[in-house]
C-alpha cells in the first residue's frame, strides 16, 4: 500500500497574458490504502492535482512522492491507475478490446482484480462486449473507462469524476463495487467528484479544494464504518461538506 505525499507544490500554466498560478505551496498527504475524495468548484485545479500525482505534469516547484517513488517511477512500476475526465476510449477497439488494452500495456501488473468478463458484468455492459465506442451512450463509455482503469489492478487509483455521466441507480450500484474492489486490493485512491453523496459514501476523508491559487479549505475525515448505509448520517456529512464548499467559494 502506497502513501501519496505532496510537499510545497507549486504549479502554473502559461496563459494568454502571463501565467495562471493554480497551486502555490500545496501540501497534502494521504495514508496508504486510504480513499480520499477531492471536491471543489469547477476549474479550481482538481484534474491538475491528479495530473501532478500521475506525473503527467511536472510541478513548477515542490516534491511529490508515491510511497518511496517519484510519480515517474511509480508509473514505470505500473502502480498508477488513471481515469481521466473524458472516457478517452480508442474508437477502433471494442468495449472488450478497450478494457483489454489495460492488460496489454500493463502486462507486468501484479494483480488483475477481476477478469475482463467480470469487469464488463460489473459495469453493466454485458451484451455490449463487441460494440465500438461510437455505438455507446456517454455513460456507457464512462463505465468502459472505469472497467479499463481497474482491469490491471493498480495500487494507486487517480479517478477524475468517474461517475459524472451516470444516473443515480447505476452510480449507487457501481459505488458498492468500487468500494469492494478498493478494500479487497488495498489501493490508495484519489477520487474527484462533484457528487457530495458519492463523496461521503466513499471517502475516508473529503478534501475541499478552492480558490485561485487553490488551497485546501477543509479536510473532513469520515470515520464511519463501511458500508455506509445510514442515510441520515450520510445526509449530515453531505451538509458538512457542502458548508465547507460554500465557505470556500471563489
Amino acid at each position: 500500500m502506497l502513501e501519496i505525499r505532496m510537499e510545497r507544490v507549486h504549479h502554473a500554466f502559461p496563459a494568454p497574458s502571463g501565467r495562471w498560478v493554480i497551486f502555490e505551496d500545496l501540501n497534502l498527504e494521504v495514508r496508504p490504502g486510504s480513499f480520499t475524495v477531492i471536491v471543489g468548484p469547477s476549474g479550481c485545479g482538481k484534474s491538475t492535482l491528479l495530473r501532478l500525482a500521475a506525473g503527467l505534469l511536472t510541478p513548477t516547484a515542490g516534491r511529490i512522492r508515491i510511497g518511496e517513488l517519484s510519480p515517474a517511477q511509480a508509473r514505470a512500476a505500473r502502480r498508477i491507475g488513471w481515469m481521466g475526465q473524458q472516457p478517452a476510449l480508442l474508437p477502433w477497439r471494442t468495449v472488450e478490446g478497450n478494457i483489454r488494452l489495460a492488460l496489454e500495456v500493463n502486462g507486468r501488473a501484479l494483480r488483475p482484480p477481476l477478469t475482463v468478463e467480470e469487469l464488463i458484468a460489473m459495469v453493466g455492459l454485458k451484451g455490449f462486449e463487441r460494440a465500438y465506442p461510437r455505438m455507446l451512450s456517454g455513460g456507457m463509455q464512462q463505465r468502459v473507462a472505469l472497467a479499463r482503469t481497474l482491469a490491471a489492478g493498480p495500487a494507486v487509483w487517480l479517478m477524475d469524476e468517474p461517475f459524472a455521466a451516470l444516473d443515480a441507480l447505476t452510480r449507487t450500484q457501481l459505488l458498492e463495487e468500487v468500494e469492494r474492489l478498493w478494500r479487497a486490493f488495498g489501493a490508495t485512491v484519489l477520487w474527484v467528484t462533484h457528487d457530495l453523496h458519492e463523496a461521503v459514501r466513499l471517502g475516508d476523508e473529503v478534501v475541499v479544494l478552492a480558490g485561485r491559487p487553490a488551497r485546501i479549505r477543509a479536510r473532513i475525515p469520515l470515520p464511519d464504518p463501511r458500508p455506509r448505509t445510514d442515510e441520515r448520517r450520510i445526509g449530515e456529512w453531505v451538509e458538512r461538506v457542502r458548508a465547507a464548499l460554500m465557505g470556500g467559494a471563489r
Binding site: G55, Q86, L90, P91, A102, L158
Partner: protein
C-alpha cells in the same frame, strides 16, 4: 417525423442523385473531347480523338497488355519500397521527433536531384534491368507519402495519450495502440496519393533505356509523334491508377469500420 422531412438537409448535401451519376463525368468528358477534336479538326499528331485512341488500344491489345504487366510490376515494387521507406522515416520521427530536422534536409536534397539526372547513375550502378526503375519509382513516390504519414502519426487524441502515459506505456506501445491507428486517415491519404505517382514514376523511369513497359511504349510513340499510341498508353495508366485509387478507397472504408462516416478517429 416521416423520412421525407429529412430531405431538406439531404438535398443540400446533394446526396439525392443516384450514386452512379457522377461516374458519367468520364464518359462525358471523353465524348466532349471526341467532338472537339472532330469539329475543330485537331490534327492527330497533337491530340488524337478518343475513338482513335481506343481503336489503337484494341488493335494492339496484346502488346499493351504485356507492357502494362511490366510497368505494373515495377510500379508495385516501387510503391512498396517508397511507402515502406516513407513509413520507416515517419515512424522514426514519431519515436524521436527531432529526427525530422535531420531527415528533411537530406530528403529534400535527394528530391532536388531530378530523376533524369539520377536515372543514368542508377543505370550505371544497377544495369539496364528493372531494379533502377523500381528505385526511381520509389524515389518519386516516397515524398508525397512521407509528409502526411509524419503528420498523421502526431495527430493523436491528447486524452488517450495521457492515459497511455499514465500507464507508462513504452514509445512502441504508444505507437502501436495509439499513433498507428490514429494515423489511419493520413495513411490512406498517403496511399491514395502514392498509387498514381508510382505508376507515373515507373513510366518516367522507363522513358529512356528500358526494354519494355508502358514508359517505353510512350517514349517510342513520342519520338515517332505517334500520339494515338501515346494516349493509348496514358489511358491504360489512368485506368490502372483509378483502379488502384478506388481499391485504396474501399480498403479505407473497411479499415475504418469503427468510425462514423464523417469523423476523425
Amino acid at each position: 417525423m416521416s423520412p421525407m422531412e429529412m430531405e431538406l438537409p439531404r438535398l443540400r448535401s446533394g446526396a439525392r442523385l443516384a450514386p452512379w451519376v457522377p461516374l458519367l463525368a468520364l464518359p462525358l468528358a471523353l465524348l466532349g473531347w471526341e467532338l472537339i477534336v472532330r469539329e475543330a479538326r485537331v490534327p492527330v499528331y497533337l491530340v488524337p480523338a478518343p475513338s482513335v485512341i481506343l481503336s489503337t488500344l484494341w488493335a494492339e491489345r496484346g502488346l499493351y497488355l504485356q507492357a502494362t504487366g511490366v510497368t505494373l510490376g515495377e510500379a508495385a515494387a516501387g510503391l512498396a519500397l517508397g511507402m515502406g521507406v516513407a513509413l520507416a522515416l515517419a515512424v522514426a520521427t514519431a519515436f524521436w521527433p527531432p529526427l525530422e530536422r535531420a531527415i528533411m534536409p537530406l530528403v529534400l536534397l535527394l528530391k532536388a536531384i531530378p530523376l533524369v539526372a539520377i536515372a543514368p547513375i542508377l543505370t550505371l550502378w544497377f544495369g539496364f534491368g528493372p531494379l533502377p526503375k523500381v528505385l526511381m519509382t520509389a524515389l518519386l513516390t516516397f515524398y508525397p507519402a512521407l509528409v502526411p504519414l509524419m503528420t498523421g502519426l502526431r495527430a493523436v487524441d491528447p486524452a488517450a495519450l495521457e492515459l497511455l502515459r499514465a500507464w507508462d506505456a513504452s514509445a512502441w506501445e504508444i505507437f502501436r495502440h495509439l499513433r498507428w491507428p490514429s494515423a489511419r486517415p493520413y495513411t490512406f491519404a498517403a496511399l491514395k496519393t502514392a498509387i498514381p505517382l508510382a505508376l507515373i514514376g515507373a513510366v518516367v523511369a522507363e522513358w529512356t533505356g528500358a526494354s519494355g513497359g508502358l514508359g517505353r511504349t510512350m517514349w517510342l510513340a513520342q519520338t515517332n509523334l505517334d500520339m494515338p499510341r501515346l494516349f493509348a498508353a496514358a489511358l491504360i495508366l489512368a485506368a490502372v491508377s483509378l483502379a488502384g485509387y478506388t481499391g485504396a478507397a474501399l480498403l479505407e472504408r473497411r479499415a475504418r469500420w469503427w468510425s462514423p462516416e464523417e469523423a476523425h478517429p
